[in-house]
């Protein structure tokens, strides 16, 4: 029975560690379906984490932190949108620019808000919310229904986004832009507006993904807090073939690797234990790279992904 409890614990942690990846990759799936490759997602998550932390810290309310994280995410992705949609700049380089800008902004304003040597942290975190009735179910209840709001939002968004992308006229318009914006525009679809809507939705998800790091996971802020989760999410979108269900599968896989490396670390004993458990921190990145080698070769995404669209 003890083994069972451990496995349940491992799977519950998997969902928690997968949640930022799931939210971010769902957001990125929407943007990429419209032909926008947003590599600034790493920076948008960082701003989400930072604005969420500031909101929660200065008001003492996690709800405010949740909202400011989303606002931070939306504003960062919108800035990216202006660069690539309005000014028509290269999407890849603009993404890198957003990442550098986000690091600079958060580092600077963190030190403005909190003086050197001051390590602020939140007194409380967004804790798991057991769902009455369901959380009592053995095993499944502990894994699925005793989680944070971010896990619930992520899981419920998978079918919702699938429905929006593949069953609504907005989804059809967005996907046709992603395949060929020129034809879509010729058919009377407002390419700019549709893409901006998709980016706002991405901003909401990415803002939440970043915010949960500070207000639900770590309770403090550091400019290295995102730790490539944005880029892992972009990899998950590729591996998940630009499909929300694929994003869910990929996120769970990476969440599991991360949970596993933490989990193994707790069992190690002996003189080599600290060494091995530190080395395990590499695992999620190595697994992502290997997964790209195995499952990311020559996959075809939306045809116009990453290419500029300018009406001349």
């Amino acid at each position: 029975m003890i083994e069972m409890a451990l496995v349940v614990g491992l799977l519950a942690i998997t969902l928690r560690t997968a949640s930022p990846l799931l939210l971010a990759s769902l957001g990125e799936t929407i943007a990429e379906r419209g032909g926008i490759l947003n590599l600034g997602i790493e920076g948008a998550m960082l701003i989400g984490a930072f604005s969420g932390f500031l909101g929660a810290y200065f008001t003492g309310s996690l709800v405010v932190g949740f909202i400011t994280a989303i606002i931070g995410g939306i504003l960062t992705v919108l800035l990216f949108g202006i660069l690539v949609i309005k000014v028509n700049l290269d999407q890849v380089v603009s993404g890198l620019a957003i990442n550098l800008l986000a690091t600079g902004l958060s580092l600077y304003f963190f030190r403005i808000a909190f003086s050197q040597g001051n390590f602020p942290y939140l007194g409380q975190l967004i804790d798991p919310m057991p769902i009455p009735g369901l959380s009592g179910i053995p095993i499944i209840g502990d894994i699925l229904f005793n989680q944070t709001i971010f896990v619930y939002i992520g899981l419920l968004s998978v079918p919702l986004i699938y429905w929006i992308l593949f069953k609504t006229s907005f989804g059809l318009r967005l996907r046709s832009i992603g395949e060929d914006p020129f034809v879509a525009s010729y058919l009377g679809i407002n390419v700019e507006r549709t893409r901006f809507i998709s980016l706002i939705v991405e901003g909401i998800f990415v803002g939440m993904a970043g915010g949960l790091l500070t207000i639900s996971m770590f309770n403090t802020f550091d400019t290295r807090i995102v730790a490539a989760r944005g880029f892992v999410a972009v990899s998950i979108v590729i591996l998940g073939r630009w499909n929300p269900w694929g994003a869910l599968t990929g996120s769970l896989l990476f969440g599991f690797t991360q949970a596993l490396s933490l989990w193994i670390g707790t069992f190690l004993v002996g003189p080599a234990a600290p060494s091995i458990s530190q080395l395990l921190s590499l695992l999620p990145y190595v697994v992502t790279l290997l997964a790209l080698v195995v499952g990311g070769r020559k996959v075809r995404g939306p045809a116009s992904l990453g290419s500029p669209f300018a009406k001349e």
């Binding site: 590599l39 790493e42 660069l83 000014v87 028509n88 700049l89 290269d90 890849v92 380089v93 603009s94 993404g95 890198l96 620019a97 550098l100 800008l101 986000a102 690091t103 600079g104 902004l105 958060s106 580092l107 600077y108 304003f109 963190f110 030190r111 403005i112 050197q116 730790a227 490539a228 880029f231 892992v232 972009v234 990899s235 590729i238 600290p274 060494s275 530190q278 080395l279 921190s281 590499l282 990145y285 190595v286 992502t288 790279l289 790209l292 080698v293 990311g296 070769r297 020559k298 996959v299």
Partner: protein, 349 residues
């Protein structure tokens, strides 16, 4: 023809200057918002970077890793291969160079072998994502960035366990043997041989490679029009692979020079993000070796000047990253800004 070239060069320079000016203006707003006088801030920044001889030397020392990394990235960016993994390539180069130097001890060839191996390590670390791009079609931006994390965590593990120095409290490697340390060129400064190698060897070599060789021509062709390049018989995959590997070589060298010229031990805090700064510098210099060299001095001056600004005006160090972030946005937009100014008749060429 001669006139036309100088005109486009003039236009490129103007574009970079406009980007710098706009970035400094935006940063001024930040200074004002936080209660500092921007004119004074830039004055202290200049003083902190070039105020006297030893400060100027320190700026050159700071410039060296930035210059080496960004020269390499200029090669890569020229053919539109976006290597954002220079940080990891730098760490791997530094680590392998350190291991080689410490294992060899004091021999006449220690320094040369360590330098050769740090270059090879940087090349290998860049070679993996390069092959993933050319043979599997996987976006190099994602892979090079992820490999930064693998490299840095791996190096941190190496210096915390297998290669930890027995005589120090913190996780760091053993001290390099005397034979692996780059000689100081100006007494009582930190101006090591690596600074001179970067300025007098790396700049001319990269200039010749990019501007005077067939490879440089291929880089440009692949970057500007891959279809035409393919039609013209250029092996695109090979060119991209070479470009990424060359940028890795220079990043690896930058890393080991930091160990053998400045730190003398491998540490987890070796680079404050030179790999990312190199991206800004390569873009600001528009992938031109001379432009990159000038941009490196400029960014190094901001790095060192910011210490003075934070000391005197109590401004956070984050200003360095902030300026770089704003700068890169304006560098990207500079072509559009330029066209706008030309259309309005503000600039006539």
């Amino acid at each position: 023809m001669q006139l036309k070239i100088s005109k486009s060069t003039y236009r490129s320079i103007l574009k970079s200057l406009i980007s710098v000016a706009l970035a400094l203006v935006v940063t001024s707003v930040l200074f004002i918002l936080t209660g500092a006088n921007p004119v004074l801030a830039y004055y202290y920044m200049f003083v902190g970077a070039f105020g006297n001889f030893s400060l100027t030397v320190e700026t050159l020392v700071r410039m060296t890793p930035i210059l080496l990394v960004s020269l390499g990235l200029a090669v890569s960016f020229k053919c539109k291969v976006w290597n954002i993994g220079a940080e990891g390539q730098l760490y791997m180069g530094a680590m392998v160079g350190t291991i080689a130097a410490v294992s060899l001890g004091n021999t006449p060839v220690t320094l040369l072998i360590s330098i050769a191996l740090c270059i090879l390590a940087g090349m290998a670390w860049a070679g993996i994502p390069a092959l993933m791009k050319t043979h599997l079609g996987i976006n190099e931006v994602i892979t090079t960035f992820l490999m930064n994390y693998v490299a840095i965590y791996f190096v941190q593990w190496l210096i915390a366990f297998p290669f930890r120095s027995p005589d120090t409290l913190f996780p760091e490697s053993a001290q390099l043997p005397a034979a692996a340390i780059l000689p100081i060129m100006v007494p009582s400064t930190r101006l090591h041989l690596g600074v001179l190698i970067a300025i007098f060897l790396a700049i001319p070599l990269v200039y010749l490679l990019m501007m005077r060789s067939t490879f440089g021509y291929k880089l440009k062709a692949v970057g500007e029009n891959p279809e035409a390049a393919r039609y013209g018989g250029i092996n695109i995959k090979r060119t991209m692979l070479m470009a990424l590997v060359i940028s890795g070589a220079l990043a690896g060298l930058a890393g080991f020079f930091e160990v053998s010229g400045i730190q003398f031990r491998m540490r987890g805090s070796l680079s404050p993000g030179y790999g990312y700064t190199g991206i800004v510098v390569a873009l600001l210099g528009q992938s031109n070796p001379i432009g990159v060299a000038i941009s490196s001095i400029f960014i190094a001056a901001i790095y060192n000047g910011a210490f003075e600004v934070s000391r005197v005006l109590n401004q956070p160090q984050g200003i360095v990253d902030f300026i770089q972030g704003v700068l890169i946005i304006f560098v990207l937009s500079s072509e559009s800004i330029m066209r706008f100014l030309e259309k309005k008749g503000v600039i006539k060429l």
